[in-house]
């Protein structure tokens, strides 16, 4: 912990850690965000955009006080320092930078995806002058340059902050984008227009402070001021990255990383970012449906829970209880209590982990493997589950995606058909959609509709939050399992 020393910001005295980065200190202490383009907390500092200039006075060698403009991203807190963020000199310097950056900018905000969350736009409203002074034509550059499957580049909007250039070496350990050519002919690009590769390309659209790097998947999908960003945790692998889910008209349209110092800092992988079509699938199950000879009977959720409780109680210790690896800790606990009442074990389906990418993506599709294991649920492989399923007197497969894992399907795919499962007459599944081959289907909430805790691969507990409303009538997983347990008790099972 660095020593706290007095520092004066805008004529008020504060305490700040000696040697800390001024641009962050100002925000932490006063809440004022100093405009910045090239500075990013998780990238190497280059100090080239010159946007974050403030006026400082600090003792120089010889104990003279020198008042000067300084970029706050490369200035550290030192003894006797005074800082003015809104002095005329500081304001003029920043306005000057903005005017230069806007000189060639196309000002196509009405058709730009970044509009509404664009630092260039925000700073211009805040600090810039409203009239341009240039009599000369804006420089033409390349637009809609494809940088591969993920990113589209607009060189005219670019302010050459080089965040994207620094991103790849800093995060992936290899270079992909470069500044090409020099002077005002400089552009961002890849050598020979080669497409970008790797699992982290989507981050470019987050860190780009203008609309130069946009996501192919989000382009023209929604205006960001109409989306509703909600914090949650990614469940596409066992890393548990902090995310922000943007919903628009009840659908997930974008996922972005949220800062988590211990897990993912400012980043997330493209697997987590772009896997959300499954959450927007229509045809949701919102009731309990029992398969009957030659048809199906709608039992309602309560009726379904009663039926499930009865079946499980009658099977007793012979009942097979398996949770999805996507269960939250709370759901896992509820499953465990149900199993205890029946005098049997609770399992969770544990698919074989794949290969990670060495950065964030672990390759393990079971987001809560560690948490469910810690709770005391027994891992069961898909092969073992298939073997036990048809022979069980009664079985309960609980939680979204469990059949994807059972059948080896991509759990994130939005359009894959789940085949019929040969699960026996007294088999129960709790899932988001009706499934074939089960005696009883009960509804489940998806990972963006439920709250709860997941424990990531590092053993850190992170929260899921209900980002979208569940379809009417679909109960929370914990509540549903509790209702089943109550029904089972009524039919003779012990209550946990």
């Amino acid at each position: 912990m660095a020593e706290l020393i007095p520092i004066t910001i805008n004529d008020r005295e504060h305490q700040a850690p000696l040697g800390a980065r001024l641009i962050d200190v100002i925000t932490e202490i006063t809440g004022e965000e100093i405009p910045r383009f090239c500075y990013h907390r998780d990238l190497p500092v280059v100090g080239s955009c010159r946007m974050c200039q403030v006026e400082i006075e600090a003792p120089a060698p010889g104990n003279v006080l020198r008042k000067a403009l300084a970029i706050s991203c490369r200035t550290s807190v030192q003894r006797g320092m005074q800082v003015w963020t809104q002095s005329p000199a500081a304001q003029n310097a920043r306005r000057g930078v903005l005017e230069f950056l806007l000189k060639d900018h196309p000002l196509d905000c009405p058709i730009c995806d970044k509009a509404g969350e664009c630092p260039l736009q925000d700073y211009t409203y805040r600090e810039g002058q409203s009239e341009g002074r240039s009599h000369d034509p804006r420089r033409k550059r390349r637009k809609r340059v494809s940088l591969g499957d993920v990113i589209v580049l607009d060189q005219e909007r670019c302010v050459l902050c080089s965040r994207c250039v620094r991103f790849f070496p800093a995060v992936e350990g290899r270079e992909q984008l470069q500044v090409l050519d020099i002077a005002n002919r400089s552009v961002i690009g890849t050598f020979d227009d080669r497409p970008l590769t790797g699992n982290y390309q989507g981050n470019l659209a987050d860190i780009c402070p203008v609309g130069a790097l946009t996501l192919r998947k989000f382009r023209f999908q929604a205006r960001v001021w109409n989306t509703r960003p909600m914090p949650s945790t990614c469940t596409r692998c066992s890393r548990g990255c902090a995310i922000q889910v943007d919903a628009y008209r009840g659908r997930v349209v974008r996922i972005r990383p949220r800062y988590d110092a211990e897990v993912n800092k400012s980043w997330m992988c493209d697997v987590g970012r772009f896997t959300f079509d499954d959450w927007n699938l229509p045809g949701r199950l919102a009731t309990g449906i029992q398969a009957t000879a030659g048809g199906a009977t709608d039992l309602g959720v309560d009726g379904g829970a009663q039926c499930a409780g009865q079946w499980l109680a009658e099977a007793g210790a012979a009942a097979l209880l398996v949770g999805s690896p996507c269960l939250t800790q709370e759901e896992g606990q509820a499953l465990l209590e149900l199993a205890r009442g029946l005098g049997t074990d609770a399992h969770f389906l544990a698919p074989e982990p794949g290969a990670g990418d060495g950065v964030l993506y672990t390759g393990d599709p079971a987001p809560n493997r560690r948490g469910l294991t810690d709770l005391g649920l027994t891992p069961m492989s898909p092969e073992d589950l298939r073997r036990h399923l048809s022979g069980a007197g009664a079985s309960l497969l609980a939680g979204e995606k469990i059949l994807h894992f059972l059948h080896g399907l991509d759990p994130g795919s939005g359009d894959v058909a789940v085949p019929a499962t040969n699960a026996g007459p007294r088999s129960i599944v709790i899932d988001t959609h009706p499934r074939e081959g089960f005696g009883l289907c009960l509804p489940a909430r998806s990972a963006v509709e439920k709250g709860g805790t997941v424990r990531n691969v590092q053993g850190l507990d992170r929260r899921l939050r209900p980002v979208l409303p569940a379809p009417p009538g679909v109960p929370d997983g914990v509540a549903l399992l509790a209702r089943i347990a109550t029904a089972a008790a009524r039919h003779g099972a012990l209550v946990g």
């Binding site: 010159r50 000057g96 230069f100 002074r133 302010v159 500044v179 020099i182 002077a183 005002n184």
Partner: protein, 441 residues
């Protein structure tokens, strides 16, 4: 080369006036060459050499005029890390061509000077970073280095001491910015030539992160001269605060352009009228760039200014690299500034926002004024833009270097700028388009 002009003081260039001097190792050694390097290595400590340079008051000849001995003394005295000397031969400042003369005509003077400087800063490796277009000067340097190595003047255990020294040239690729010392280091390391923010300074964290000193060609070439004649004798030339001689490369509208070695403090008028035979064609002096374009423009009424660091500073310009560009009354100041603006627009590294866009914007405005499309607010906008990129607002001094000629040209010749805008064109004979064609031909 003919006999020196009476006002010249040939210290560095004295061999060049000898009949038949060919710059070879034999010729250089015949005149006492490499004795000072041998003396330094065999009988002086690095600090003693540095002190001699400090005592001489030598100031860097690469443009900033920083005290050379002081710069050397910033290097760590004891260090386990390798030290590097980089000789800046990226001579690209418009109007400057003096280092070329040394490298082509007396390369061993540069090699010996670099060797002495390297010894003083405890470096065992010298890189001479030569401007990409300087193929011939680089070849001359390569030949001299090879000769010196073959003769045991470079290599291991020199003169029977533990001191070893290697020297190599490295070609630039034609970017002006790579003459900026931190960009030069980046370029030498094989990266884009983008200036680094300072601090850290090169003496602590230089090339490859090692302690590094960067000196101009002429600066290191002065070291053998100072060691030979002694600091006191050297100080008899020049002024107290700008001692010694410097190479002045005179170009433009004079009768005898060329490189002359002159004592610091000589009035610009003496250089133009006496050394160079005056303005050509019987015309009158109009203005001159003091020491390369980035140092600024002075109008004829300031021609009596003594060419030393302090005197020109008082007029708001800098001594720079000794590139004196002379313009007579037929020259259009707007056009001259346009040609420079074209250069700066082409050469900014593009790293800092203000410099990247500002250079192009200034060029667009100045070009329009010269070509007859000036707007009434153009000159005012230009002055304002200059304030927005100059004054230490950027990583390196490039933007300030461009601001100097723009600002001084407008200040001294405002009426001429306004006249261009009012008339809707250039009042001088040659058209602006032709001037640009000539530049790009």
């Amino acid at each position: 080369m003919s006999a020196p002009h009476p006002l010249e003081v040939p210290l560095l260039t004295r061999r060049l006036h000898q009949a038949g001097y060919d710059g070879s190792l034999a010729a250089y050694r015949a005149g006492g060459g490499y004795r000072q390097f041998e003396r330094a290595v065999t009988s002086l400590t690095p600090d003693q050499v540095t002190d001699m340079i400090k005592d001489s008051g030598l100031r860097g000849r690469g443009g900033a005029g920083f005290a050379t001995g002081l710069k050397w003394s910033f290097m760590p005295k004891e260090s386990v890390k390798p030290h590097y000397l980089l000789v800046n031969a990226d001579e690209s400042e418009p109007g400057t061509f003096k280092d070329r003369l040394l490298m082509e005509r007396d390369p061993h003077l540069v090699v010996e000077g670099a060797a002495i400087a390297a010894y003083a800063i405890r470096a065992r490796q010298v890189y001479v970073y030569v401007r990409g277009e300087y193929r011939h000067p680089r070849a001359c340097m390569d030949r001299a280095i090879a000769e010196a190595r073959a003769d045991g003047l470079l290599g291991r255990n020199l003169f029977g001491t533990p001191y070893s020294l290697e020297m190599h040239t490295h070609p630039g690729a034609g970017a002006y910015i790579c003459g900026e010392e931190t960009a030069l280091m980046e370029s030498l390391e094989g990266k884009r030539g983008h200036p680094r923010p300072k601090p850290p300074f090169p003496a602590g964290f230089g090339a490859w992160g090692m302690p590094t000193t960067i000196n101009n060609v002429e600066t290191v070439a002065t070291a053998p001269v100072i060691l030979e004649m002694g600091a006191l004798e050297y100080r008899k030339h020049g002024t107290p605060n700008s001692p010694g001689t410097f190479l002045v490369g005179v170009s433009g509208h004079v009768k005898r352009p060329g490189v002359y070695e002159l004592p610091l403090g000589i009035p610009a008028r003496a250089v133009i009228d006496e050394v160079c035979g005056g303005v050509r064609g019987g015309r009158r002096l109009k203005a001159f760039y003091v020491g390369g374009s980035s140092t600024g423009l002075l109008p004829a009424q300031h021609a009596d200014v003594p060419l030393d660091h302090d005197s020109v500073r008082k007029l708001g310009v800098m001594l720079g690299t000794g590139g004196l560009v002379v313009m007579d009354e037929s020259a259009c100041i707007v056009r001259a500034t346009m040609v420079l603006a074209d250069f700066y627009d082409h050469e900014t590294c593009g790293q800092c926002s203000q410099c990247r866009v500002g250079m192009e914007w200034c060029y667009q405005i100045i070009r329009r004024i010269e070509l007859g499309q000036g707007q009434p607010d153009d000159v005012a906008t230009l002055l304002d833009l200059i304030e927005n990129f100059a004054g230490g607002k950027t990583i390196c001094a490039f933007a300030d270097g461009a601001a100097m000629p723009y600002r001084t040209a407008i200040q001294a010749f405002r009426a001429e700028w306004d006249e261009h805008v009012r008339r809707g064109g250039c009042p001088f004979a040659q058209s602006g388009e032709r001037a640009l064609e000539a530049v790009h031909a």
